[in-house]
């Protein structure tokens, strides 16, 4: 009498078609190509933190060297009137204190502050 267990065990497994091997090889090549064979490089968080701290420190060190633009003088800065003739009717002298950088006067023209340059 035949033992079915032994009979099945002795039966060889079927040989897969060659096309399956080719398809699997192609799928693996495609996957390898898609992923470039390695993980994408990632910048660690500590590098971001170190970069931020370095920029802050450099900014703090160089800030006295930077010539910041002086704010325009306001009416409260003006002491004494030196401009004899009003240049135009719609111009109003705000003050006589010259801008330290520009050596010019600031006027208000139609609600807008403008520097008064020589020759105007």
């Amino acid at each position: 009498m035949t033992d079915p267990e032994k009979l099945i065990g002795a039966t060889p497994l079927p040989e897969p078609p060659e096309s399956l091997n080719r398809r699997v090889a192609a799928a693996m090549d495609e996957a390898r190509h898609r992923h470039g064979g390695r993980r994408p490089a990632m910048v660690p968080l500590w590098a971001f933190a170190a970069g931020c701290m370095a920029c802050t420190l450099i900014g703090f060190l160089i800030h006295p060297l930077v010539e910041w633009p002086a704010p325009p003088p306001t009416a409260s800065d003006g002491v004494g009137v030196v401009i004899v003739e009003p240049l135009r009717r719609d111009l109003r002298v705000l003050g006589t204190k010259p801008d330290r950088k520009q050596r010019s006067f600031w006027l208000e023209e139609r609600g807008e502050l403008k520097p008064l340059v020589r020759g105007n």
Binding site: M1, T2, D3, P4, E5, L7, I8, G9, A10, T11, P12, L13, P14, E15, P16, P17, S19, L20, N21, R23, V24, A27, M28, A31, R32, H35, G37, R38, R39
Partner: protein
Amino acid sequence: MSTDFFDQVRRCYVENHRGLFGYALSLTRNRAAAEDAVHAVICRLLDRGTIPSEPRPYLYRAVRNAAVDTWRRGASREEPLFDGGAGSGPDPELRLQLEACLFRLDTDQREVILLKAWQGLTFREIGEVRGQPANSAASLYRRGLHKLKALLEEKER
């Protein structure tokens, strides 16, 4: 994904491709459908990006799912299961008898018998593949084998 991963996938395929193909063939009874099922499983493993801790039950379970999908789409021409490896194993006539008897068994019993006796999976692995306890797989195997023996004896007479 590292090169190591692709080497592991290749190793998984080389070690299991005959078993997986045989299992898929036993479920679909069609070589083209079985080939599609195994191919789909390897593609899924590549997309997954990691090798499971126990690759064999994972691969067999995935082949089972893929084969069931193929079967649901509509059965195609049925092809013989035990036709490979001419010159080794039982003689062709006995193989045909065995195959005929196997396909007279209940589907679950046949599947478990083939996974155990043909593919060499353990009952624990079969349980993982089929989503059932190992004892249930063992019980199906014993009952199926008993019935198969009776069918073969009937043919011999």
